[in-house]
Subunit: 146 residues, 2 copies
DNA sequence: TGTATTGTCTACTTATTCAGTTGAGAATAG
DNA sequence: CTATTCTCAACTGAATAAGTAGACAATACA
């Protein structure tokens, strides 16, 4: 699961993408529109700013804007940035690869091939959609069946 | 990421699958072969037993065995059992669907469609491989690039 | 110059989850 | 009836997540 913080970051970035090229957007406005606790959002936006993916401006009429065109930011980028990896297990990560603790040797691992496949396919999907893409919302789920 | 407990559960189940039809396997043996803390494994196996996916037998020469043929257990089943869901966000889960906390209305959600696609594709892969399948291990990763 | 505004940063706090242990108990074989 | 093996509830300690507090820095504008 994505953490709450990652989800907030995604929504904040969508908000900035929707207002790209329109001058700085204030934190308070994002917080309200996206239903994110304002104080927590400061942590998140400062972090994104340190990552260099948003620019910030202080003082009157200050705020935040994307540092990069929304066409150049994928959902995969955002999740990797906030969470470190798209993979289900450390040994199946491609950018943050490390040995799974207490596991057998990687060469003997019975699931790594499958986990790599899942991570690759997930990356393909998440890197295929950009912040500039308008995604049609799917109707809310009614049934309760995963 | 999968929790350590989920990863232990998967390895324990693989061990039982490898010894399917050969009488009960003792916890201590699984723990040693799979490098899992024995006491923790009791918690895990008892849980799996309560789920009805393994049978246990107490007393001398007791142990555990799969309650179901390994051909009828997929990796997706195991992860869902231990983690509750394959999805990246609660609202994209199909079997454990619930609203994401502090989110916008589902009908307005900009990422749900994408998250549903990821979860469906992940499920397809994970439910396509069974405990009975012998997966060829992938050579250990050398480079560090996810 | 100075004051209101808006973001930055470090350091908490509090809640939750994870990982694992303890220890008493119950079934079974012999 | 005893040794073995699983069962179960409760507990602990560590890590992570989620969020808050509050002092500080930059900027605009008067």
């Amino acid at each position: 699961m994505l953490s709450q913080k990652t989800r907030y970051a995604i929504r904040a970035m969508q908000h900035l993408a929707d207002n790209y090229g329109q001058g700085p957007i204030q934190l308070a406005q994002i917080a309200e529109a996206q239903n994110i606790p304002a104080k927590f959002l400061t942590t998140i936006l400062s972090e994104l700013s340190r990552f260099g993916i948003v620019d910030s401006q202080r003082g009157k009429d200050g705020g935040y804007r994307l540092a990069v065109s929304p066409i150049d930011i994928t959902y995969g980028d955002l999740i990797r940035l906030m969470r470190g990896s798209l993979a289900l297990v450390p040994c199946a990560s491609r950018f943050a690869h490390e040995k799974c603790k207490n596991c057998l040797e990687e060469g003997d691992c019975r699931t790594r091939a499958l986990m790599l496949e899942v991570r690759d396919r997930t990356a393909e999907l998440l890197d295929g959609v950009r912040l500039s893409d308008r995604i049609d919302p799917v109707p809310a789920q009614v049934d309760d069946q995963d």
